[in-house]
Symmetry: C2
Subunit: 471 residues, 2 copies
Amino acid sequence: MKNSSYLYLQFADRIEKQIKSGVLNVGDKLPSIREVCAETGYSMSTVSKAYYEIESRSLIESRPQSGYYVSNISARTISEPSASSPILSSANIEREDLIDLVYGDMRAKDVTMLSLGFPSNELLPIAKLNKGMIQAMRQLPNSGTSYEEIQGNTNLRKEIARWSFTWGGALTEEDIITTPGCITAISHCLMTLTKPGDTIITESPVYFGVLQLAKSLGLYVMELPTNMTTGIELDALKKALSTKKVKACVLMSNFSNPSGSMMPNEHKIEVVRLMEFYNIPLIEDDIHGDLYFGSSRPTNCKTYDESGIVLCCSSVSKSLAPGYRVGWVSPGKFKKEILRTKLYHTISSPTITHEVVGDFLKNGRYENHLRKIRQILNHNCNNYINTVLESFPKGTKVSQPQGGFFLWVELDSKIDTADLYHLAMKHQISIAPGRIFSLQDQFSNCMRLSFGLPWTNELRQSIQTLGKLIS
Amino acid sequence: MKNSSYLYLQFADRIEKQIKSGVLNVGDKLPSIREVCAETGYSMSTVSKAYYEIESRSLIESRPQSGYYVSNISARTISEPSASSPILSSANIEREDLIDLVYGDMRAKDVTMLSLGFPSNELLPIAKLNKGMIQAMRQLPNSGTSYEEIQGNTNLRKEIARWSFTWGGALTEEDIITTPGCITAISHCLMTLTKPGDTIITESPVYFGVLQLAKSLGLYVMELPTNMTTGIELDALKKALSTKKVKACVLMSNFSNPSGSMMPNEHKIEVVRLMEFYNIPLIEDDIHGDLYFGSSRPTNCKTYDESGIVLCCSSVSKSLAPGYRVGWVSPGKFKKEILRTKLYHTISSPTITHEVVGDFLKNGRYENHLRKIRQILNHNCNNYINTVLESFPKGTKVSQPQGGFFLWVELDSKIDTADLYHLAMKHQISIAPGRIFSLQDQFSNCMRLSFGLPWTNELRQSIQTLGKLIS
């Protein structure tokens, strides 16, 4: 990320040094962008990009109508949540009462939903999407009332393929199959690649939707030790793959749900190499990949996939319009089989919403929108971390995600976040207790907080209330 | 149907007698509606309903700008296709090359698609749906970009529940779960109720989509003997259920795909009784139920289901807008399990199109639209039957569906419709060969013709060409 061939990165690195060395202290106001331009001779664009970059490193924060200040995260030594060490066996899923509860809350009004992982309405470009909808009705044959072709809307597939350059891919429209959402893409992959009684590998903690899907398909899940910053541990992965009992692996290489971890490039490369070596397909969920806080789009495992062993799934449900049901999979060498599974279980995606998203991707609007949503999520994330550090008991550990929607918070081991969930709901606050992210008896002192809600005073108070409840 | 407490039915019965007894002969013009009113004192409405009823019995046909004529079907003794007698074992599915071919045609241009079972665009109320779309964008929170609640759009569920009165049901919105299309509803039911290696029962011939779904889920299919007029044979069903090897049954009680058969009410009642007795769930596909040619909506098996053993699936894909992906299931006592399967594999249906259809159902527009589409399908059906009888070799047997989209045609046993398929494609005509509707070596001299295309001279010529090719 710190490729100093760029002026703005050189400048950002310099400011970082000043902060780390104490030249700039917590709360100090940075010179305005104009002032820096006048002093240094850099362009406005270079300086704003540099400030944006430093902000994305959580070193400074912008205050509306005031300017940039050295953030208090910069000085604190934040404790990262511990790596997981689940028992290395595969467990079949028994309980989901807690999940039913958390999902049941979706309809509850007047509850601060720190539990749910999707963008708040304020973040969505609704007016532009509505325009797109009217245009799609005009453009599509029969206004989108007919079936699409089985593989999916051609415009959308072309744009997703074009978009793959952002993560170093070079897909064509033939490499994409659309689905009504990312979870349906993962479901189709699992249905195609496994049969009941098979075992799959996941991270731990892992998105509970994957656990539920596995249960529904009669699969055993082997959760592997996972580092909260760098993702699944490679030694454990290698060992598990070498047992030859595993039929597929499901991973989020970028801003994983719930831990927020991002696999370094070397890890991604090594994971792909291992999957190829053992000839076991990798189902990659890259749904958060576009929501990075850094200066450029991270790669994913598909970037390094030359043999077609990676099935990369994604959607716009986290970035654009969950209700449109627009997802896809880039199925590598399993295209024919996935296409049949789609035909058998889905036939066709919703024609009109897929056209709208294809069009939105085409005209650069998606890029503009992402720039905005990334900046907001980054701000929110910093504010959440600050408030958690201020109001939660000493010893609280917090992840420092470089993108996505989620903070992973680890409390004192005596605290049970399932109890906290019930307590917090009495104060109209919903959290996602850690134990729903594992089949094993783990993470009972952890919780996932979504920072997809817009940052307000009420939200700050909700987090402060959580802190008091924990104390 | 011939409930003579209605004036129009009394009058229709009288005309039927005149035709059957030879008072009216093939080609005779009937008096105009005005003339009949003047003669009989009946109202315009009574006489037109009577004529519509007689037409639905295939006894008369209307010619545009001319009037009603005694149809030549009325006089011919049409041979119904033979009942099926598959070997009573369960077979796992091996080949689908032919299906891939027929589906591959979907994109082909300039081909007369007698193979495909959905309404042609001319039959869809596209302008009205577009208006609904604009209204839905205004009405829905966030213009439909957000997730719905898991069970589905409340307005839509209310309207589907209200609509159940047409088939004698009394559902509430709590009895409905929406899905993105009917096949996804059936898929969710099968995933919930079966596991790989289980056996399900179907009619024979059976919609190939059900066979593909079964294959994808690792299920064995036991095809039962089926009468082309009255549907699955009850003795065979009873025998199969009593073996206790069966985990679910999938049936179309109305205008079955492909045979066109409709189970009489007594059969529907007996089927539900049997399923209850053996405690085996019935997945009913009632997608054609609203497309009847008679005077009233037929019941379905769900009508007679008091214990919740029937999961009734349907959609608007055959009647309103395939591309909208609006389907549903009324899951009876399996609601909790089906809801979980939906949550795991789909999460949420496309928000906006489900709202549009809910609204369309609410304002009586659906009823008006159905009246129109039913009349057109009925006309088409009669014209198809006439043309087949005129141009196909003697001995050809044709079903006489009372609704739906499909004619089932049985040719001389020496003819292979798979060969005919290839031959016809050279003349830009696509048919659905009979053998794709069974896992066994059956129906190779049969084919399914869809009468969803608008009736034109070109279409007549296509059917005549088919006749020549067969000769």
